[in-house]
């Protein structure tokens, strides 16, 4: 009895060890599987985008006029679910946070690039991911937007020497936002959840006040 029990515990610990993520770069699953997972994860992402209504530019843009906040809600919920999930998995020892790809911070280009994208967002009504979703269901405006991205990338690459200084300036490495405030990741995420709840209530209130737009 005693013996059997300890064997079972041992097995559980072993099986936990096997699955410490990210499972590709830690060598648990062969890198050959990486591209197969890429397709599967992409499909999940594409399905989530389209089924949330992100293939419609007029639904997306509703956020900026207050008649439809679905995009903001889904966007922030996704970021929070992933943040919380990663912190939990890290706490349980199921994920090695240091192995995750954390976008390095280049302050100037992050701001300037973001501003350029913001104007593009208001003009095109899509961001790259949502334009893919729109393209997949036959929206011609989505296809044109997606095609425009190739032109934009080409223009940027060809004139890289003009952007080069800005591209590399303000480098801060893989800095995390909680360290910018001098607090722990957990505390930051807690405040983030509070902020999101407040924002969702605010959004619901605004949506009631704003005239409905049919689309």
């Amino acid at each position: 009895m005693q013996h059997g029990f300890s064997v079972k515990i041992g097995f559980n610990i072993l099986s936990l060890k096997i699955m410490i993520g990210p499972i590709i770069s830690s060598g648990i699953v062969s890198p050959a599987w990486d591209n197969i997972f890429a397709v599967i994860l992409g499909m999940g992402f594409g399905f989530a985008l389209e089924s949330s209504g992100f293939s419609s530019s007029r639904k997306i843009i509703g956020t900026f006029f207050g008649y439809d906040f679905v995009v903001v809600k889904v966007f922030f919920t996704a970021a929070i679910v992933a943040s919380l999930g990663l912190l939990y998995l890290n706490y349980l020892g199921l994920v090695d946070f240091s192995q995750l790809y954390i976008q390095p911070t280049f302050l100037t280009s992050a701001i300037v690039g973001g501003i350029i994208m913001g104007i593009g967002f208001a003009m095109g009504g899509f961001c790259p991911g949502t334009s893919l979703a729109a393209t997949a269901v036959g929206r011609i405006d989505g296809m044109v937007f997606f095609g425009g991205m190739f032109i934009g990338v080409f223009l940027f690459s060809e004139s890289f020497t003009l952007f080069e200084n800005m591209y590399y300036s303000g480098s801060q490495g893989a800095k995390m936002i909680n360290s910018a405030f001098g607090i722990s990741p957990e505390l930051f995420t807690f405040f983030l959840v509070l902020a999101a709840v407040g924002m969702f209530y605010g959004a619901a209130w605004v949506q009631k006040k704003v005239k409905k737009v049919e689309y």
Binding site: L41, R58, Y101, Q103, A110, I111, G120, G129, G152
Partner: protein
Amino acid sequence: MGTVLLLSFYISGRGLGASGAVKNTVAATVNTVAPEHVENSAYYSQFAGGDKKPMNNWLIYEVLGVLAGAFISGVVFNRLKLKVEHSPKITSRRRLIFALGGGILFGIGTQLARGCTSGAALSGMAVLSFGGYITMIAIFGTAFIAAWVLRKNWI
């Protein structure tokens, strides 16, 4: 969507994106047409040329998956239809010109910020990246102002 993003980090150690595939495709195309130009370019040479395989890349497979997943959703919810979606107050032509302009700006912006709304902002926020939050604030902050300026296109 949060669960997919979480799984992506758990399995592959990275978030989801859309603009990286465009960058790799452009770099690969230029590499086919003018390989010397790629070698001499401080930008292209980071992604293409030499023994780099920009088209055999996680980001490319992921984007193919996005198209397939969105298509399946379109079938399931009966939303497949070839059309230009625009406000009744503007013409299709005007909508497409602005969509093209928006795409071009996103092409430039994503390269500067090293990612788009999903790759830099959403995935960056998930791992609490400082740059990801900054990019997100810059995108949404600017879009609120720009949308108001361009409101005649939408409402």
